[in-house]
């Protein structure tokens, strides 16, 4: 099968391009480095099926970073290159084009983000550019699909013009003369978007903007999450599902093994979704009723921040702080993703340059950053006791993140390189692309988390009815009640935390803990051991030694912090 490579600078819209071309859904965002591995898809060219590869963004074929190494290795394996250019930034983009033309592989050029050239006062003579380069040039807007048909039709015209290898300076000179011939810039006034762009980077205006953006995000997430739970999910469960469950309960004779497993315990003769612990009651309510609304709300807000292009600016503003903990500002992007789910977050650490940074970032994410599912449960459980307790949980985790980062920075060998990133312009998000991304993420949650949650509940209800937890509780009592000050039964939650943290936090509900104990419990459960999915991805990204280190740090930190909180609070 012939293989088409999509290549271009970072953040020129290759991922959106890839989705359009192949119909394969991939996550695209407005910051450099969204694609870290490579993604395959396929496309019908006439009668022939060809393979399409979304190659990570690269500025040059001389590899200077990990993503660029991947890109130049993939180049050896391709049959045709679609070189995707940002039409609003041609000069820098053309350097890679010239490098590609020097290689012995047919190339076709897509001038992407074409729609923005007009209001940015850029005029490009594509016919002339085609002549100068000697390969087809097609203007495209991958987000809306404009020009994509023409591009696909012209792929067979892709050519590899005779060109001798040039030095770097010769290439830049050639780029300069091409630009002079094909591009006309007209002066235009700064748009409000550009003013905002500069304001969010200057310290005096940028920091207040950052605080505002984060505060507004939090309020929006919480309102959407609580709104959906209170006005949609709870009424749905109460009115539609509870009658079904009560019927089933009677059918099963209100007791016995299957009743315990499917329905769980009844409280005053009724189902209590947070405490019953049946697969069909709590098992369905936690993922769908309590967690899904927050997943939806979080990824909606994150999607807007990503597509607008705000995150790299946050990275620049926080670079200073992040350096104190051994990271550079760009590590804020995986960290923010971690507030959604650990798995994509740890994978996103690949956008960081050094192994050391990846190790520190991933360790910190898996210890101190609660995922959206855990947060939904924490907000539900602890928030009930009062906002101050919620603040204690978040405050403690934030302190852990800072202190642990500081310690890791001192102890992990090597140094972290300085920041050097391109900051994309603000863009008005395209609502269809955004909804598609939101759907992919929510669907991903349902597909991956739902089975594990049901399984976890199943295992818990079986183990409880077999009395296994009583044994474990006896053995671990010194740690659980001695150090953390929690009742012995809380060990059930800690063990279940290995499978899913949302369920684990939910298991604290029936224990009738005091508000302070809930704070300790939430913090300990968040920090202690990653859930099974996070564990797998940690192992894959960090290797065995990295994983051992992360887990060592995790256990030590949990015991220290849990113990300290116990002393301070209880």
């Amino acid at each position: 099968m012939r293989r088409i490579l999509l290549m271009g600078n970072p953040n020129v819209g290759k991922s959106a391009f890839f989705s359009r071309l192949t119909g394969t859904k991939v996550i695209a965002s407005n910051y450099p480095g969204t694609t870290v591995g490579f993604t395959k898809g396929s496309l019908m060219l006439g009668e022939e099926q060809v393979e399409v590869i979304d190659v990570p963004g690269t500025y040059t074929l001389e590899p200077t970073s990990k993503a660029e190494e991947v890109a130049s290795r993939l180049l050896q394996t391709g049959d045709v290159v679609i070189n995707v250019l940002d039409a609003t930034n041609m000069e820098r983009n053309l350097y890679l084009t010239l490098e590609l033309l020097e290689r012995d592989i047919p190339v076709i050029v897509a001038l992407n983000i074409w729609d923005e050239t007009k209001h940015r006062g850029i005029e490009i003579n594509t016919a002339r550019l085609e002549e100068l380069l000697g390969v087809p040039v097609v203007p495209t807007v991958a987000l809306t699909g404009e020009g994509m048909k023409e591009l696909a039709n012209r792929i067979p015209e892709a050519a590899s013009p005779e060109m001798t290898e040039r030095t770097r300076d010769e290439r830049w000179a050639a780029v300069g003369s091409i630009i002079n011939e094909v591009q006309t810039l007209s002066h235009r006034h700064h748009t409000w978007l550009e003013r905002l762009q500069d304001a969010s980077l200057k310290p005096l205006t940028g920091l207040p903007i950052a605080v505002m953006v984060l505060a507004v995000s939090f309020v929006i997430i919480r309102s959407i999450g609580e709104g959906l739970i209170g006005y949609v999910m709870e009424p749905l469960f109460d009115r539609l599902w509870t009658p079904v469950m009560m019927e089933l309960s009677e059918l099963l004779g209100s007791e016995g093994f299957w009743h315990d497993v499917l329905i769980g315990n009844l409280f005053d003769g009724a189902v209590d979704y947070s405490q019953s612990m049946g697969v069909l009651t709590t098992g369905l309510f936690i993922p769908l009723g309590a967690v899904l609304p927050y997943i939806l709300a979080f990824y909606l807000v994150l999607g807007v921040l990503e597509d607008v292009g705000y995150l790299p600016r946050l990275a620049v503003l926080l670079d200073n702080l992040m350096h104190r903990i051994g990271l550079h500002g760009y590590a804020i992007i995986p960290t923010m993703l971690g507030l959604g789910c650990c798995v994509p977050a740890i994978m996103a650490t690949r956008i960081l340059e050094s192994r050391r940074e990846r190790l520190i970032t991933a360790t910190l994410i898996s210890i101190a950053i609660p995922c959206a599912a855990s947060q939904a449960m924490i907000i539900g459980l602890v928030g009930e006791q009062g906002v101050q307790y919620l603040a204690m949980v978040y405050g403690t985790l934030f302190m852990v993140w800072l202190v642990l980062g500081f310690v890791l920075n001192r102890t992990v060998r090597g140094f972290s390189p300085e920041i050097l990133i391109e900051i994309p312009p603000y863009r008005i998000p395209h609502w269809r692309a955004m909804l598609q991304k939101l759907w992919m993420r929510v669907y991903g949650f349902l597909r991956e988390a739902l089975p594990i949650i049901l399984l976890a509940i199943l295992v818990v209800s079986i183990l409880i009815s077999l009395g296994v937890f009583d044994k474990i509780a006896e053995v671990t009592a010194p740690v659980v009640s001695g150090i953390f000050g929690l009742p012995e039964a809380a060990v059930v939650a800690i063990v279940v935390g290995l499978l899913r943290k949302d369920i684990a936090i939910g298991l604290l509900a029936p224990l009738a803990l005091s508000a302070d104990q809930l704070v300790v419990g939430s913090v300990v459960l968040t920090m202690f051991f990653p859930c099974i999915a996070a564990f797998v991805v940690l192992a894959r990204e960090l290797g065995f030694r990295g994983l051992l280190m992360a887990i060592g740090v995790m256990i030590a930190a949990t015991i220290v912090v849990g113990g300290l909180l116990n002393v301070v609070l209880l």
Partner: protein, 84 residues
């Protein structure tokens, strides 16, 4: 005040523009800056810098690049005089 001596990006004021004269430091840094469009002969404008030795942001062509404080001290610029 007239500034005819070349200075580094670190010492430019926000809003000042100038032509890059040279990049002090190894080929690695040179290549990385190069691929982001920062190379001798290019006109760049400083947008902002974060306090406490934070990163510096410059505009080059139509894009913005954030550069660590240390690296910013290695990019030598011939500053244009500001119009009164």
């Amino acid at each position: 005040m007239k500034e005819d001596k070349p200075i580094t990006v670190r010492h430019m004021h926000a809003g000042q523009s100038g032509k890059v004269v040279e990049i002090l430091g190894g080929t690695h840094l040179f290549n990385r800056l190069n691929s982001l469009g920062i190379r001798p002969g290019k006109r760049i404008t400083k947008v902002s810098s974060m306090f406490l030795r934070g990163p510096v942001t410059v505009r080059v062509d139509r894009s913005q690049v954030a550069i660590g404080h240390g690296m910013a001290g290695k990019i030598v610029v011939d500053v244009e005089e500001k119009k009164p």
